[in-house]
Amino acid sequence: MFNISNETAWCPGCGNFGILEALKNALESLDLAPHKVVISSGIGQAAKTPQYISVNMYNGLHGRSLPAGIAIKLANKDLTVIVESGDGCSYGEGGNHFIHAVRRNLDITHIVHNNQIYGLTKGQASPTTSRMQKTELQFDGVQLRPLNPISLALGLGAGFVARCFSGDKTHLALVIAEAIKFKGYALVDILQPCPSFNRVNTFKWYKDRIYYLPEDYDPSELSKARVLADEWSDQIPLGIIYKSQSIEYISENPILNNNPPIVDLSHNPADTARFMDDFR
């Protein structure tokens, strides 16, 4: 139902293929109707994902997929809104929007394709590139410390924080479905190799480090989640690291909560004439 015939623009071996399939499977598993799903993406290889799924697509500006997706959800709360982009778009250009999206806690799903490099612009460092890694622009190695999206999201108070790997589509599809079901802002940071530009974080590099959180892991304990967030160089935990329900934006907003979707509200100009009394 979500298949579409557009030819992909990704390199062979790109992690995006796995993510695309997992996303389609997640949407199918939730029985969602394509015309009720919107993917808001930015710019980059990852942001091309909605071109290859039969859903409403808002492929906007680099770094600006979150504000657009947020407004889409506010304007029509009946739509399932997925915000999807790469690590540069989501944590760099769009960093400010990331911070405030977590604060808002609106019921959207934020999928980040984290390949720790800039792909479409051909190999510059991204906010998550490892320190001292040499790139197509940082010839002497990246001097900045990488941003840790998991600990950052936890620090901001995100209620759903998960990390996955593009190489395991089954696990990824399950986590994405959980993220969509979660009532509030949900982050799924997906590690993926970039065979064209990231010589360090290869498929094998990830495979040597990833491990799955055990079945009986309780994701509601923030202190445990914080420890897991910092695990990186030797082992990388995958799964839903933190999950805790808190007040979701729509449920607390009287205009959104007590009405049909804003887009469905009827309007009669005569009803607003009474506001002139404020000036009499």
């Binding site: 015309h35 919107v38 492929n59 906007g60 504000p67 947020i70 506010l74 005569a270």
Partner: protein, 560 residues
């Protein structure tokens, strides 16, 4: 009759409240009232003032000569006494001894110490000054007491009432005026008019970042948000503000954003996005002097060129300069219809002068408000193509989620009819042509500039936006004095309507552009679009709006 009262002092001394009370009192007595604000970019201290001009005939400008100064500090008397008319007076609220000492010949003595003693409240002396002012003009105290009752309650109200009584009894009437016939007026400023227009037009989403002098549009909408079911979002930055508005618009909700030059500068990539995705949006830009931070609380018309050319790449748009509160209301409504019809960004240009000046206006006629969404109801079978190429260039628009089996796809990349990314040269040509073809019929809808003046004027003034009010009064006065002069004041400004201009330019001996900027941006536009050159320029860029008096003086000195 035509009188002018200035209330001045340091920021934080309460002159906004006093100005509001006096203005509303005069309005309710049936006068035409024009309240003009001049303030600094600070919360306490410095020097701010309001001028309240009132008359028994319609007025549309602030004026220079003062009938009365209500000085909340000595500095006010110092700065403004030179502008006092011959019979002008000063009432001191604070620093009374110093003011009364220095300006004894024009003082109206307010028994400040008595008032403080009787009310037990330092802060109500201003109210005494207002009631004293009313008495000077032979106007009833009830008008002021009504205003106090609206604003205050309990002990504060009682103190204000006593203060009003004391002030009223402390002086005699010296200006004899006849009470006019009361009429149903609203007392409103430019930004509030824009906000009302947005509400009337069914705008349900306003996202912005606070910036003077645009913030008050958002503030009013926020106050009404629950009653009117409008989402008002303070975004984390202006980039988020415009991208949010575009997202809401994509989903079928009428959306708007607003800012001033510096904030709009951050929105400009979003403008470009609106252009290529053909997403309707209304953007209010309330100008202030730049560049960069400039004069945050003052006025200028410096961003015309910037707004017309904003957004990289080439795409159609419309720019409307708002001229006065009534214009602001009706043009905001119209802007939403045009944005929806042509799927373009429509810019509303205002400035601090118009944003903040509050004046008596005939209530807006909501029955004249038409909503035209231009959305497709019945989707034909087959795949919907958001950018289908049609004869008019305008692609039928459906709302995402509204039609089973139909998706709406848009892309900031160049795209094909279905909205998916393309690299094709031919598709690119087709899309660029389609986007410009869209507005061919917009040219037929343009509204010619307002003309004020005599027939076949020897001197033709061209202006735009908020200079409307002061220019109108200046021209009428000059015509009454037998000067052959007229003014075209542009509202629709891009695309530029040129018929009236071309017609009047053929008989005028001199064409003069009058603008509040340093480089004559309207003159440039007119030269480019109509190939008409101005013979002379009157330019003011000190952050303060020309009054009708200054315009008359300038014209007499330089042109007439």
């Amino acid at each position: 009759m035509d009188y002018n009262i200035l209330i001045g002092g340091a920021a934080g001394q309460g002159m906004d409240t006093l100005g509001h009370m006096l203005s509303k009192a005069l309005k309710n007595l049936g006068f035409y009232v024009f309240l003009h604000k001049d303030y600094m970019s600070r919360i306490r201290g410095g020097h701010n003032f309001v001028k309240i001009r009132f008359s028994d005939h319609p007025i549309s400008s602030h004026a220079d000569k003062l009938t009365l100064i209500i000085a909340l500090n000595f500095e006010t008397a110092q700065i403004h006494s030179a502008a006092l008319a011959e019979s002008g007076k000063i009432i001191a609220v604070e620093d009374a001894e110093k003011v009364n000492g220095e300006y004894s010949s024009v003082i109206i003595n307010l028994p400040v110490k008595d008032i403080i003693q009787k009310t037990g409240n330092r802060k109500v002396v201003g109210t005494s000054a207002l009631s004293c002012a009313l008495k000077l003009f032979g106007l009833p105290i009830t008008a002021l007491v009504e205003q106090a009752e609206e604003l205050f309650e309990g002990q504060t109200l009682e103190a204000n009432k006593i203060a009003a009584e004391e002030g009223y009894n402390s002086c005699d009437t010296i200006f004899n005026i006849k009470l006019p016939q009361p009429w149903d007026s609203i007392f409103i400023n430019g930004n509030e008019s824009i906000a009302l227009g947005a509400l009337a037009a069914g705008c349900k989403f306003y996202s912005a970042y606070p910036m003077t002098p645009a913030t008050s549009i958002m503030t009013y909408l926020s106050k009404k948000s629950k009653e009117a079911n409008v989402l008002v979002e303070q975004a984390e930055d202006e980039i988020a503000a415009i991208n949010m508005a575009l997202g809401a618009s994509y989903v079928g909700v009428r959306a708007m954003t607003g800012s001033s030059g510096g904030g709009f500068a951050l929105m400009v990539e979003g403008v470009s996005l609106a252009g290529i995705t053909e997403t309707p949006i209304v953007i209010a830009i309330s100008q202030r002097p730049g560049p960069a931070t400039g004069f945050p609380t003052r006025t200028e018309q410096g961003d015309l060129g910037f707004v017309i050319h904003s957004g990289h790449g080439e795409f159609p748009r419309m720019v409307i300069a708002l001229r006065h509160p009534e214009d602001a209301f009706y043009q905001t409504v119209r802007a939403f219809n045009i944005a929806d019809k042509y799927q373009i960004p429509v810019f509303l240009l205002t400035d601090q002068y118009l944003a903040d000046y509050t004046t008596t206006v005939k209530p807006f006629d909501f029955s004249k408000v038409n909503i035209e969404r231009y959305l497709m109801n019945d989707v034909p079978d087959g795949t919907y193509k958001r950018y289908a190429i049609t004869e008019s260039g305008i692609s039928p628009r459906i709302i995402p989620g509204g039609n089973h089996g139909q998706i709406v796809t848009l892309d900031s990349d160049e795209h094909d009819e279905s909205g998916y990314i393309t690299e094709s040269a031919q598709v690119r040509i087709d899309m660029v042509n389609k986007r410009f073809k869209k507005i061919e019929s917009l040219f037929d809808e343009l509204i010619e500039p307002d003309y004020i003046g005599c027939d076949n004027p020897k001197i033709l003034l061209i202006c735009w936006g908020s200079t409307y009010g002061p220019v109108k009064e200046a021209i009428l006065a000059l015509n009454a004095d037998r000067h052959s002069i007229g003014a075209l004041i542009f509202g629709d400004i891009y695309p530029l309507p040129t018929k009236a201009l071309v017609r009047l330019a053929t008989t005028a001996q001199q064409i003069v552009n009058l603008e509040q900027n340093a480089t004559g941006q309207l003159a440039d536009l007119v030269k480019q679009q109509a190939m008409i050159a101005c013979d002379h320029s009157l330019l003011k860029y000190d952050g303060r709006q020309w009054s009708k008096d200054e315009i008359i003086d300038s014209l007499k000195k330089e042109v007439l």
